[in-house]
Symmetry: C2
Subunit: 231 residues, 2 copies
């Protein structure tokens, strides 16, 4: 069971862009919402900044290190699944051949062609196992060396994203003004971010921008309302 | 018997379990770290609870709604890619046939078989396009109705996970005691969660439990240290 988040699997851009999107998407949203929420319950900036920075530290570690370990688990899972498929081609080859045949049966091929195909694929055990990994289990060969780079990119993008809503509270003394500036700056940043993300994913950039604003805005409104209610 | 074990493993690793793991993993970690962090900068429980609940609201919306919209984007992407493949089988059928042949070539099939296969697959345009989606682009047919269910499961798991570290601050008046109880209860919960997760993913449960404790503990320590430094 892959534990890594399954967002935007078919990016036209690189894995790095995908990591930046994952990190910045949450980084812009959650610290923004939290800071706005706390500002509804306190009277001075100090605690908004403290909580915001604590959140950025916690969130970037959870996403970065958590993502790194999840990717490592996925790699181990792939290795152990591959070993099991390898053993099954040895211990129950007929069952495995039936599985190959079933995959092709769904494409309405004549049985004579299917059996030739099954014989060809199963004649090379390594390719046979590769075939089962990809088309029976749907597992892609992992890139183990990417896990660390990916974790770092996600964590740094989370920090970069989180500093955008927080900076107004650091620079502007009046809490009310800081909240207002933070909301305006972050909604603008969310829109630009969503717009650019849309261009990478092939989605309509305007709709994509609108959606990231919606998520960030709703999260902030909910946090603000809740904090007001209790605070 | 290997085959039974195989089926069983697939059965246990349902999409719902995966969603619970994703939501609870972050839900246990980030609100825990944030609450611990803030408790290093304040003198009473009130603000820890307010910030914690605000974070849970923000985080569950960001993960749930954000995940839902990402899944919808994936679905739209699948639909548009499928339309493009459909058009390509009309406008450049020979190029598409060559692509089918190339897929089989990578499994070392004899050329005579390959041309028969290509003819069979391309004789039914709908199945042909299905074949290209899966074997050329590696795209699985999305389950659009699952997106909402998945988003809800992730959000509720985040809330359930987040309430574990927060409850001690709500129930226990003394901040120091509440922090201590929250740390003990949450580290235990992280270990149990990681242990169970390990059993689902096939990883060593003890190592998996140790890793979730490591991520949560590091995130909390960083948030606490940072908040102390500024607060």
């Amino acid at each position: 069971m892959p534990l890594t988040k399954h967002i935007e699997q078919h990016f036209t851009a690189t894995d790095t862009v995908r990591d930046i999107v994952i990190g910045m998407s949450d980084g812009l949203t959650v610290p923004f919402a939290l800071a706005a929420g706390i500002s509804g319950a306190v009277t001075a900036n100090g605690l908004v900044v403290t909580a915001g920075l604590a959140e950025i530290a916690a969130g970037s570690i959870a996403m970065g290190l958590g993502g790194y370990l999840a990717a490592r688990t996925d790699n181990e899972h792939f290795t152990s699944e591959r070993e099991r498929e390898w053993e099954e081609t040895e211990s129950v080859p007929d069952a495995e051949k039936t599985e190959v045949a079933d995959i092709f049966r769904s494409y309405d091929l004549p049985e004579s062609q299917i059996s030739l195909l099954v014989e060809s694929i199963s004649s090379n055990r390594d390719k046979w196992v590769d075939f089962m990994m990809r088309f029976e289990l749907g597992l892609e060969t992992p890139k183990p060396k990417r896990a660390r780079q990916s974790a770092l990119t996600i964590a740094l993008s989370y920090i970069a994203g989180g500093m955008i809503p927080l900076t107004p509270y650091i620079l502007i003394h009046d809490l009310h003004t800081a909240l207002l500036v933070s909301v305006i700056v972050t909604l603008a940043a969310l829109f630009i971010f969503g717009f650019i993300k849309g261009r990478f994913t092939g989605a309509n950039p305007l709709i994509s921008g609108g959606q990231t604003i919606l998520v960030g805005g709703l999260a902030a409104a909910a946090a603000f309302g809740l904090a007001r209610l209790i605070g």
